[in-house]
Structure formats: C-alpha cells, structure tokens
Amino acid sequence: MLRFIGARLLQSLVALAIISVVIFVLARTTGDPLYLILPMSATPEDFANARQYLGLDRPYVEQYLSFVGRAVTGDFGMSLRARRPVSELIRERLPNSLKLAAFAMGISLAMAFPLGVMAAVKKGTGLDRAAQIISVLGQSLPTFWVAILLVEFVAGRLQWLPAGGISGFSSYILPGFTLGWFVVAGLMRLLRSGMLEVLDSEYVKLARVKGVVEHRVIWMHALKNALIPVVTFAGIYFAILVTTAIVVETVFAWPGLGRLAYEGISSRDFPVIQAVVLTTAAIVAVVNLSVDCLYAFIDPRIRYGR
C-alpha cells in the first residue's frame, strides 16, 4: 500500500511540474512577458532594467528553475493591480475559499447520500423519480445563472439572506448551496447507479439469505461497495468544485481565491493568475492523493493486492 501512495505522490508532483512548465512556457512564448508585468507607461529603459532585474536575459532553463525555486518558497512576485506581494493576497483569500468549499461539500454529502441510496432502494417510486429530476436538472443548470437569480430573489427581493460578502453563518448558505448543487446532482446519480448494481449482486442476496436485517443490508453491506465508484469520481468532482467556485465567488462577492482569479483576469494581472493556478493545482493534487488513500482504505482489494 505504501508503494501505491508513493506512486500517486510522484504522479501528483509530476502533474504539478507539468503545469508550472505550461505556465512558464505560455508566458514566455506568447510575447514578451514583460508586457504582462510592467505597467503601460513603462519606458524602454524600464524594460531593460526590468529585464536584467528579473533575470530574463538568462537562459530559459535557469529562469525556470529560479521561478520554481521562488514559487516553492511562496514568493510569487507582486500583484500589478494591488501592488502587494501576491503571496499575501493568497494567504488572505485562501482560507475563505476553503471554508466555503468545506461547507458546500458538507451540504452535498449530507444531501446526496440519503437521496442517492433511497432512490436506489425505492427504485421506480415517486422518490426515485424526484431524485432523478433533481439530478438531471442539477447537471443542466448553469451555476452562475442560478446564482444570479438567487441573489436577485432570495437576497434582493425577499431579503432572507445576505447577497454577498462574508458576514457570519447565513452568508454561507446561498453560495454554499449554489456551489454544492452540481456536486449533489452528480453524486446522487453515482450513488443511485452504484447501489442499484450492488443491490443486485450475489453477496447481497446471500446477506439476505443469512437473515441480515434489511436496513443493515442496505447501509452496510451494499453501501460500502457502492462507495467505490463514488470515491473514484470524487477527485474529478473536486476539480469541478474548484471550477464552479471561481464563478460562485464572483457572483456572491466572496473574498476567496476564485474571486481573486476573476479580478486577475479582468485586470490582466499575470502574477496573480499564475499564483492562483499553481496554488489551486497543488490543492487539487493533495485532495486527489487523499481520495486515493481513502479508496485504498475502503476497498481491501487495493490494499492487499494479490
């Protein structure tokens, strides 16, 4: 099992390295990176000075290595717009994003599990139908659109919940739901199909034959097996969560990493974008790694191999 984790860790590092190379290459080859870094009013001397200061006259490989070196120690340069170190910005915003993501995942899991399992158990009934409708809608609705409408109606007209910003528990609700919605839909569908398959299996039949009580058959014997495909997809869903988070944070003016990214795009603030991408990629890698460990934990066939 250690070998398994080691392999995945290596894989994550390689992935991160590739991303950093991509960013680096894109910045260098799509025009003089200085254009991205210096303000509009820079003079040719400023360019020359900057070039030397930033070491852009040194060979590419050297540049890349120093770039990586600094990135690893947390130095991402200065934000053009805010004129502050980017790492500071990230340190401010990151916890907010994490809190929102955790909240959203929490809601999603709390809703998706009972719904998904019961939809499978009560296949064909009204509950199942409803669950399927929720699931399909959830994956068809554009998040940001729903977010805007929610802000308008629930926060604006009805004034039930705050429209944005971070201000106590109630401000988590709208963005949290909007963020988690897509995940709930997908998770529920996965759980339902996984459970349907497992409930048909021989070992579930045998459990019933043994006289195991029905609710134990469902929630223990069956569910643990149905979790396997869910966990497999969890990594992908987290990536989707990250994608959606950027949009949600923008709409709800949530002071997180996603909003930072949006501001970065609008103002073509390259150092910020670069830092956000790398940070997010690192987080995604960590999450995927944890999910893989979880996977090994659930499925003994992975743990003990052959």
Binding site: E202, Y203, V204, L206, V209, K210, G211, E214, K224, I298
Partner: protein
C-alpha cells in the same frame, strides 16, 4: 413417518417479463425429512433456483411474485409470515448456499466479519467467544489455520475455500433445512468431491434436511436419497434415486439418463434430448414436454397430465402412466 422438516404444497411463483408472464414455479409440491437429501434436477430455466428462492421468499421483486401454495417449515406456513418474521427465519432455520463462490462473499468485508455476523445475530455472542465460535465454524468446514483466515479477505481465497466459508455461515445456527443451489458447479472436479463429502458430513452431524439443486446427475447419484426432476416449472417425476435411475417413468427423465455417456460402451452417436428448451413465456397448452417427447400422444398436446403415483413414493406427470 414423522413430520417432514419442509413440506411444500402447490407452490406457484410467477415472473413478469418484457415478453410475457413466466410461470417459473407452477404447482410444485415436495417434502424433505430430517437427514434426508432431495436432489432438484433440471435444465436452466426449469425453475429449480426460483423454487429455492421462493422457499425463503427472496424472489426478485417487483418482477417475481409468489402467488399461492404453502411452504410448511416444521408445520409453520412461511408464506403467511411477515417480512420481519422471515428475517428471523432466514439463516437460523433455513440456510442457503449459492452457486458462485466468487461473488457470494462481500469483497469489502473480511471473512471473519462475514462469519461473525450471523453467529452474533443468532447466538448473541460477543468479543472473544464470538471469535472462537467463528473460528470453530471455519474448522468445521475443514479450512486450515482458521484463526488466521478470519482476517483474510475473500479475494485472497480460492474458489473452493470461499465456498467452504459460505458453508460455514450456513451451518452457523445450525438450521433445520439447508438449500444448496449448484454449490459445486463452479469448482474444480477434485474440489467438488471434497465439498460434497463435507456437505454430507455436516448434514449427518446436524440432522439437516438438504435440498441439493444441480443439473449433474452424477452428483445426484452420489449424495441424494430422493430426486425431483423439474421441467418448465413443474416437477415431472420424483422418487427414490435408485428407482428413478433404473426405471424412470417420465420420457424426460429417461432422456436425461440416456444422454449420460457410459464408460466402456461405444456408441455411434451421443444421445441428446431433442429440440430446444421451452419458451417459458409462451408455453403450449397441455404437457410442456410434448414438443420434444419421443412418445408423445395426441392427448399430451391438449391436456396437462396431473401427478400420478407410479409406486409408493414415486410420482410422475405423464399420460403414459395413466392406464
């Protein structure tokens, strides 16, 4: 004769499929006593497995429904019990061994957990006494190093071992009736013989009534006392093994027996049962075997024969026997 352990009377189970309603179990009646082994023989789709599932009321819903009849276990009719009552009966008084050992055990739980579960549920044991009992059960089915095996996972065991584990779970209570649905079909021949021997031992030790489902007449000859031959959801012949094998009354039974190649004799052609298995959704009126029967009469196509007694303890459904 004392009351049989299980007494099935006119059991009917129907299956609703895309192609029509299938009478999977169509008026099946039989009884098995303590220490007795009844073999249930037939082609795929003859209703053997569905009969067994009907006995424990685990037919696949919502497509399948038990329509009528009685299943008397020690005199109590199981078909009128509530689901909760059935959950108490399953495993404790009726146990079942399924066909495919590769898929019968839950892959994500250890062998120990799966064996402990019924033991704890039936006998209320906990902790060390529970583990000891579980290990003892594994030993009873002749699994070497039982205590270590408890920690193993199903994928680490061979097919034969897994089937033994299933056997261990089956005798955990121990039950009154054991249903074995083709338990050796997926096993190697040498393992098969060992397993059959094990089953016989367990049966004798616990005085189990044993229903053994198989399509292999050789096994029937070896371990069964009586045999019931099923075709298209009905029992077409039933009686003592010796009797059925030497003087089969029903043309289908006769065809089955004749199709077994015998060592030492040379034949020009191997004998097979003519024709195709019946389409259960569209059975012809009359005897279901009529289209394939070498001795079919006009009457057979029109009217389904009732159960008639050929001799004491030997019954069949065939117009040939009604003289």
């Amino acid at each position: 004769m004392s009351r049989p352990v299980v007494d099935v009377r006119d059991l009917r189970t129907h299956l609703v499929t895309r192609w029509g309603t299938v009478k999977a179990v169509d008026g099946v009646s039989f009884a098995v006593g303590e220490g007795e082994t009844l073999g249930l023989v037939g082609e795929s789709g003859s209703g053997k497995s569905m009969t067994c599932l009907s006995l424990v009321r685990l037919v696949p819903r919502p497509a399948a429904r038990i329509l009528g009849g009685q299943v008397l276990l020690d005199g109590e009719d199981l078909l009128v019990k509530t689901e909760l009552e059935m959950q108490k009966i399953r495993g404790r008084r009726i146990a079942m061994i399924l066909q495919d050992p590769m898929s019968s055990l839950n892959p994500v739980f250890s062998v120990g957990m799966q064996v402990r579960e019924p033991v704890s549920s039936y006998h209320g044991l906990r902790g060390r006494s529970l583990t000891a009992r579980a290990a003892a059960l594994l030993a009873a089915v002749r699994i070497p190093s039982p205590v270590e095996r408890l920690r193993a996972f199903p994928h680490q065991l061979s097919g034969g071992m897994r089937q033994r584990v299933v056997g261990a779970m089956a005798i955990a209570a121990p039950p009154r009736l054991l249903i074995a649905d083709e338990p050796t079909t997926s096993l190697d021949l040498t393992i098969q013989a060992q397993y059959l021997g094990l089953l016989k031992e367990l049966q004798q030790e616990h005085r189990l009534a044993l229903i053994f489902v198989t399509h292999n007449l050789g096994i029937v000859a070896k371990i069964c006392d009586r045999v019931a031959v099923m075709y298209a959801g009905r029992i077409v012949e039933m009686g003592p093994v010796r009797r059925i094998f030497t003087r089969p009354a029903h043309p289908y039974s006769r065809a089955l027996l004749e199709s077994i190649p015998r060592l030492g004799t040379r034949v020009a052609r191997l004998v097979a049962v003519d024709g195709q298995p019946p389409d259960l959704a569209r059975l012809p009126g009359g005897c279901a075997f009529a289209p394939r029967c070498p001795r079919v009469m006009d009457r057979c196509r029109v009217e389904a024969p009732p159960e008639t007694t050929v001799e004491a303890g030997h019954v069949t459904r065939c117009w040939l026997e009604m003289r």
